[in-house]
Symmetry: C2
Subunit: 144 residues, 2 copies
């Protein structure tokens, strides 16, 4: 396995199945690419225009799904390479993010968007590193 | 273990953690009550006033969470005993439903609500039984 970088993130398109009374939206099966183990699932809301940045997990593999709204994710690796991905209702997909990558995210939809993270380990504070938003330069406002 | 009935369903209150820019909502940890295994996670939308009923899983244990909107769940067991639970943003909790119980649900919020099911096995058609809505008598309209 090579070093972890932003090319190690993968995007898996997900199905939205039309059903009378309300669609069914796939999230993750244990047989899917990106499934390592189940540790914890939790939601993060992000208000329109809000930025949550920056975090890096040392052990956790993230599987990120946005079933409501739209979210811009920005990833930065140790080489300083940058990758942006926008997922949400209109581009319904899962992002699998291995440990070791800095990331932040921006709410693109009013009043807020909802991110589900299906993680391979339960959250614990010691495996998370943080930087202030201005410690990694990125123009969060450049698009809308 | 006794026979499965509506008393076998349990309700686990979940934390909503206030965070600047958007709260974090717990869903499930592998150490939580109700966790059997991870098979699949998927969302079901349910429009306000829509009813999805009836289904019974023969093998799947459901863990139901409503991070957006509000949903009335109705459960019926082999004895014909009935149980209702309303969960959602204002009553944020997880319902753990063992296999063998008929259930249906009703969207209580506009424009729709979002149900996350964290299931112990992947969905497959042969373990699901269905009845038409009128095959189990229930007044879905009694409380808007």
């Amino acid at each position: 396995m090579g070093p972890v970088n932003v090319d190690s993130i993968y995007v898996t398109p997900l199905k939205q199945i039309p059903i009378l009374g309300g669609d069914v939206l796939h999230a993750m099966k244990r047989s899917d690419p990106g499934f390592v183990d189940f540790g914890e699932a939790y939601f993060s809301k992000v208000e329109k225009g809000a930025v949550k940045a920056w975090k890096r997990h040392l052990q956790m593999t993230l599987n990120l799904i946005v079933p409501f709204g739209s979210v811009r994710f920005v990833f930065v690796d140790g080489d300083g390479s940058l990758r942006e991905e926008v997922i949400g209702e209109n581009c319904y997909a899962r992002l699998t993010v291995p440990p070791g990558i800095w990331f932040g995210f921006h709410g693109e939809s009013a009043p807020y968007s909802l991110v589900l993270n299906i993680a391979d380990i339960p959250h614990f504070a010691d495996e998370v590193e943080r930087k202030k938003i201005n410690e990694i330069e990125f123009n969060w406002e450049k698009k809308k």
